[in-house]
């Protein structure tokens, strides 16, 4: 069978240059190459794989809960087990799946889309992955001991104080989130500096793909939001282990301080786990509609605006806690306002479909379903922005329905569509379209069957987080439907994984640009060479591969000539706004340090958890030694270098 796209890549890869670059950029042999890889594509795929593994774990937890809730007065789980399951389900999906899966995509795609060879800090990139994995393992090691977090994903005090939750469960939560927060922060800083500096010449900010805008916005938000939850966790850990009074009422502590700090983090985080996914839709949907995105500038600005307003709505999670009326009104109004930037993207997508020539591919089906599910989740969000309604609906299944529509609707459906869209780039092969339609059908039907009726359950007064309900309460048949839907949805996801596996094994060969996309990642072979671009292109427009057909009269992007950078492992950095060539960067090779640092943090956090000074000190000193080693000055002190070009 011939490849879907039989043409050679637009970006040239002359064999003599490829050999030089391969020698400089290729992975180290053996274990060092595996544990020490700093290739953003390897790290991106590891992120995706690990995030999907956590999705499966979190999904299985949900299925066990749905077995329990399928009928009234069930006794599959006792209350303690149920508490741990719903807490770990939330923690897993929100912290270990939703953001990491987007980081995986961004890691893989950014340098390809930006026309660069790697992220700004390749070793920190590896570090953020290993830390994510280590923190996930740290949280899950507690599971077999029955000591997993059991205070819900937002872990309110005083329920989670030592008085009402004496075991180690909540300490695992506190330390695990601080641990994971380091990974998020390191990753975010890397994305920001990569965006500012690691682009092809000419890739000015008005030419960036929207997914870059989305991830950049999320990353800036993470830098500002993550310390709030880390601090809250630190306070709580102090309260529980050292007898402080941050939240303990007896010594003048304030339980609501937890909620403030948690939601100052939590609400921006919600946008952090949807904006990059919305970016995927904004970039990939137009490809399947065979036209550029409608309203690029508006969508880019709306992305940033959503996050700015997103920092001013945290109190709407606390409407029922007795905060002053003035504050309630302000935050209620802000919560209404935030619908406006979100809606801009929705209208832009609809207009793109309307005015384009859509191909009904599997990615197209997923991306259009995002629009529908986002509107449903958005409308239930606007409903609960209203104080009067929120007081009735808070802590009911209506909220559960709302948050799953938003998170699964915008995150998981967008991600699944994005896998179908970018899988050919990552693997060089296509996923089967016919099986993909089954996957879509099952996931879409199962999802709506599972979560739409939850709205009614909430309106009928079923509280969230109850481990069972009586047969006389009128929730029974609806809950059975929800459980059936959940299993149908899970079956769809299973089929999705089979689809990936089959595609990898025997999918049709894709060629460089099977979807006929306009952005830079489609200008190189699939899968891309380890150094991405043999010749760094020079960018002149937002759609470098569509310039002919769009009739751009201005300058054309250059692929056949550009910067060469073939003296060792090096790449180009540009000025932050205009993308002018600024400096040559010598990039670090494969290294044990990121893996070692993540391992060293395990005894540090383990020591804190088990109150073992020796273990903690060991971890702390090991961390310090690795960090000093990391930043030690290298041998290379060349001040400048002659520019080498091709063409």
């Amino acid at each position: 069978m011939s490849p879907v796209d039989p043409n050679p890549p637009i970006s040239p890869n002359p064999p003599e240059i490829a050999a030089t670059l391969e020698a400089a950029w290729g992975e180290a042999p053996g274990l060092k190459g595996w544990f020490g890889s700093v290739d953003h594509k390897v790290i991106g795929i590891r992120y995706l794989f690990t995030a999907f593994a956590f999705l499966v774990v979190g999904g299985l937890e949900a299925l066990v809960m749905r077995i329990q809730l399928a009928r009234p007065d069930a006794a599959v789980l006792n209350p303690e087990q149920y508490d741990q399951l719903f807490s770990m389900h939330g923690v897993t999906m929100i912290f270990l799946y939703a953001l990491p899966v987007l980081s995986g995509f961004s890691n893989y795609l950014w340098p390809l889309m930006l026309g660069s060879r790697d992220m700004a800090f390749p070793r920190m990139n590896a570090l953020s992955f290993w830390l994510f994995l280590a923190a996930g393992i740290f949280l899950y090691l507690s599971f077999p001991f029955g000591a997993a977090p059991d205070g819900g994903w937002f872990n309110y005090v005083p329920n989670s104080s030592s008085e009402f939750s004496p075991g180690p469960n909540i300490d695992v939560y506190c330390l695990g989130l601080i641990f994971l927060g380091i990974s998020t922060t390191v990753g975010s800083a890397n994305f920001i500096v990569t965006l500012l500096r690691m682009r092809a010449p000419g890739m000015s900010i008005n030419r960036l793909p929207i997914i870059v805008w989305g991830t950049m916005t999320a990353s800036v938000a993470n830098l500002f939001a993550v310390p709030a939850v880390s601090l809250a966790c630190l306070f709580l850990w102090f309260d529980r282990n050292l007898g402080t009074h941050f939240f303990e009422v007896s010594g003048g502590g304030q339980p609501l301080l937890w909620q403030h700090l948690f939601w100052i983090f939590g609400h921006p985080w919600v946008y952090a786990i949807v904006l990059p996914a919305m970016g995927m839709v904004s970039d990939a949907l137009p490809v399947h509609c065979r036209r550029p995105l409608v309203g690029y500038t508006l969508v880019a600005m709306a992305t940033v605006a959503t996050m700015v307003v997103g920092f001013g709505v945290w109190l709407h999670h606390m409407f029922a806690t007795g905060v002053p009326t003035l504050a309630l009104s302000f935050f209620s109004a802000a919560s209404f306002v935030i619908a406006i930037p979100s809606a801009i993207s929705v209208f832009a997508w609809i207009a793109t479909i309307w005015t384009g020539r859509a191909r009904i591919t599997v990615p197209f089906l997923f991306f259009t379903s995002v629009i529908l599910l986002f509107v449903i989740g958005g409308v239930s969000g606007v409903m609960t922005a209203s104080l009067a309604l929120d007081w009735q609906l808070t802590d009911t299944y209506f909220i559960v329905a709302h948050l799953h529509y938003v998170l699964i609707g915008i995150n998981l459906f967008a991600v699944t569509g994005a896998i179908y869209h970018w899988f050919p780039k990552m693997s060089g092969r296509m996923m089967d379209e016919r099986l993909g339609r089954w996957v879509f059908g099952l996931m879409f039907a199962g999802f709506n069957l599972a979560f739409l009726p939850m709205h009614w359950l909430g309106l009928a007064g079923m509280p969230r987080r109850v481990y069972t309900y009586g047969s006389d309460m009128g929730f029974s048949s609806t809950n059975l439907v929800v459980s059936i839907g959940a299993f149908l949805f899970a079956f769809g996801i299973l089929l999705f994984f089979i689809n990936i596996w089959l595609g990898r094994r025997s999918g049709r060969v894709a060629g460089p640009n099977p979807w006929d996309g306009p952005t830079l990642e489609w200008a190189i072979s699939s899968p891309p060479p380890v150094y991405n671009f043999a010749v760094i292109p020079v960018i002149a427009s937002r759609h470098p591969l569509w310039e002919e057909r769009l009739g751009d009269t201005g300058e054309k992007s250059l692929f056949a000539e550009g910067f060469l950078l073939d003296r060792g492992k090096e790449t180009l950095a540009v000025t932050p706004l205009d993308g002018e060539p600024d400096v040559i960067l010598k990039m670090p090779g494969d290294s044990w340090l990121p893996f070692a640092l993540s391992v060293a943090l395990m005894p540090l956090f383990g020591g804190l958890l088990l109150h073992s000074v020796a273990l903690g000190a060991f971890g702390g000193i090991a961390t310090l030694i690795i960090l000093i080693r990391w930043y030690a000055p290298g041998g290379d002190t060349a001040q400048d270098e002659a520019v080498r070009v091709y063409g």
Partner: protein, 200 residues
């Protein structure tokens, strides 16, 4: 026929200051650390405004007798280290090392005064919400100073053993920049803990 060629133009390798990437990474660190202290100060204000009638609840505002010398030491050390950095850049390594040692000693003095102040307090970490936030706010800052001291000491060792070549100025610049940051943060912590209660 396309081929590879070398131009007469040159581009800097790695680059100093804003041209290199580490400077931008350091700025990200400042952003996230700065906001961490903002949340700490928010928590201080929240606990102070929601709980007790008087804040601090006992004994009035903390004494300035150690805090002011400590502040002078820390702010002074920033100037000394900036001097050291500029001397090193002009090649006067011996003077730079002397200034670096003086800067480290001033930083160590700040930590010593901070610990002395801690031990003089009539309350302990677990007394009440004020004592909790007092120790954690000043403690978080002290930890940052301690980390800076370790970095400066490592820098001194690298300098003495000849690991820092003229092409490695970035290391010295960034550690000094970090020290300035920790210094500025102290001014906010100082204003919160020592000055704000005097305004009430």
């Amino acid at each position: 026929m396309a081929d590879a060629k070398t131009l007469d133009e040159r581009l800097p390798v790695h680059g100093m200051g804003q041209i290199g990437t580490p400077w931008w990474g350091m700025l990200c660190l400042f952003a996230t650390e700065g906001i961490l202290f903002a949340y700490l100060i928010f928590s201080y204000a929240y606990l102070g405004s929601q709980g007790f009638q008087a804040w601090p609840p006992t004994g009035g505002p903390p004494s300035l007798s150690l805090a002011i010398p400590a502040t002078v030491l820390l702010v002074g050390s920033s100037f000394v280290l900036e001097f050291a950095k500029r001397r090193a850049r002009t090649g006067d390594i011996a003077l730079a090392r002397v200034a670096l040692v003086i800067g480290i000693l001033m930083g160590a003095g700040f930590i010593a005064l901070g610990l002395k102040e801690w031990s003089d307090r009539p309350f302990s970490l677990s007394t009440d919400s004020y004592s909790s936030i007092y120790f954690v706010l000043t403690g978080t800052h002290l930890a940052h100073v301690a980390l800076g001291l370790i970095a400066l000491t490592v820098l001194l060792v690298w300098s003495m053993t000849g690991r820092i070549a003229p092409g490695h100025e970035q290391h010295r610049s960034l550690i000094t920049l970090y020290w300035h940051f920790v210094d500025v943060v102290w001014l906010f912590v100082f204003a919160t803990v020592y000055l704000a209660p005097r305004l009430a």
